[in-house]
């Protein structure tokens, strides 16, 4: 650095005034969409490699079946199906989309992100990025999209949660082989005359990074690949410390869900649906108990036939509850995502 020679610091020109973008306004969810791959995988197909039984899996997870994507079916393929459905439900076209947020941890390219390619397929050149927040990714996306709409940086935001977990699951791992499934869910967040998305309660706990984690860094894969290409441990599947996650999810997340209700300015009685991340039916049931939710509030249990689809699970469950008339359009839903990071986010939304 050369020493300043001027005796006075530079002054702003003061000749330009930034345009008022019309913010701030309210936001709401105006459409949802879902996609489950065609192939249904029953527990019977999983059990041999983990020396288990259909009954054992049902008791520990509530899962009867899941969907697996075809080998040549990508997260972008699945995301496209769900996105088109959400756009149709919302009644908006590709050129109205002002931002594309894709929550995923199983897009197999570290770069480029999945979102720009998805946008292009839909016929959009909107700004587009991926969110790496695992099972909390969709709720993170809804929160960010809501703020974008409120702040005026986009009119309509496409939020997608999509996972092809079958690519990153160790079929021999008794702790996780039966848990995961593939699928995509999407929503459109847009402007509203009244508040449609409550304040988000979110956070992270990076101290517990190892509780759910890819088993190796890619740089480690490069080294071990040279030594043992046949060794299945080389592939960085996702591993999980089940008990640790269970404790955190139930006793750590129930208060977060309660805070989201409180911050939204409503009571639990006002809810028309509870749509937690579909991690495990045991987590869902224990969370409902901890929250002391009124018994008549419908609770998403899409996990039974969809399994745990990480970022995709909440929009998949939301779409199903709306389609099957279990939750009303215009009703209030509490949604909470939580997962690898560890990270979490919860908010109350008005259902589209």
């Amino acid at each position: 650095m050369t020493s300043p020679t001027a005796s006075t610091p530079p002054a702003p020109k003061g000749t330009g005034t930034l345009v008022d973008n019309g913010a701030a306004r309210h936001s709401r969810m105006i459409g949802v969409g879902a996609y489950r791959p065609a192939r249904v995988v029953m527990n019977s197909e999983i059990i041999d490699k983990i020396d288990s039984s259909d009954e054992w899996i049902r008791e520990r997870s509530g899962i009867i079946s899941r969907h697996f994507a075809a080998e040549d079916e990508s997260v972008i393929d699945m995301a496209e199906h769900a996105s088109r459905q959400a756009m149709e439900h919302a009644g908006i076209s590709a050129d109205q989309i002002g931002f594309v947020l894709v929550a995923t941890v199983t897009h197999p390219y570290q770069t480029p992100a999945a979102a720009p390619e998805l946008a292009a397929r839909l016929g959009s050149t909107a700004p587009a990025i991926d969110i790496s927040a695992a099972c909390a990714g969709y709720c993170y996306g809804v929160a960010m999209a809501s703020d974008m709409v409120k702040g005026g940086s986009a009119d309509y935001v496409l939020v997608v949660g999509v996972e092809k977990l079958s690519d990153f699951t160790d079929p021999y791992d008794r702790g996780s082989a039966f848990i995961f499934g593939d699928g995509a869910g999407a929503c459109i967040i847009g402007p509203s005359d009244t508040p449609g998305i409550g304040p988000t309660v979110w956070g992270s706990d990076g101290v517990q990074r190892d509780a759910i984690s890819q088993k190796q860094a890619w740089t480690e894969v490069r080294e071990s690949w040279k030594d043992a290409q046949a060794d299945k441990a080389v592939w960085p599947n996702i591993g999980m410390a089940g008990q640790t996650v269970f404790r955190w999810a139930v006793w750590g997340m129930a208060p977060v869900a309660q805070q989201a209700i409180d911050k939204a300015g409503i009571k639990a009685d006002d809810l028309d649906a509870f749509i937690p991340h579909q991690a495990n039916i045991r987590i869902i049931d224990a969370m409902v108990k901890q929250l002391k939710l009124p018994a008549d509030i419908p609770v998403a249990r899409d996990i039974v036939t969809t399994a745990n689809t990480s970022a995709a699970s909440i929009p998949l469950a939301t779409t199903r509850m709306l389609a099957e008339g279990e939750a009303p359009s215009g009703g209030l839903a509490l949604q909470i995502g939580f997962g690898a990071g560890l990270v979490y986010a919860a908010q109350v939304v008005v259902l589209p």
């Binding site: 089940g242 008990q243 269970f246």
Partner: protein, 82 residues
């Protein structure tokens, strides 16, 4: 406020009963949680969290795998209370 081992056993039996429906009388010192009482890992964690609250102790995740028998749990809780 350390409790006797019998008091801890009785309290633990109530927690196990509430989570699993197992008769409190069956929750005996030498019973294994998994093999004798057929309690799975997630129910075990629920029992652990409820025991923390009831007995005012902290049972770390890393300790849970060492609690194989009812006696292991009673001894740990008793030691943690001391």
């Amino acid at each position: 406020m350390a409790q006797s081992e019998q008091e801890i056993l009785d309290g633990l039996a109530e927690i196990v009963n509430e989570e699993t429906g197992i008769d409190t009388a069956s929750v005996e010192m030498d019973k294994s949680f998994t093999e004798d009482l057929d309690i799975d890992s997630l129910s075990m964690m629920t029992i652990v969290v409820n025991a923390e609250e009831k007995f005012g102790v902290r049972i770390p995740d890393s300790e849970v795998k060492n609690l194989k028998t009812v006696r292991d749990a009673v001894t740990f809780i008793s030691g943690a209370q001391a």
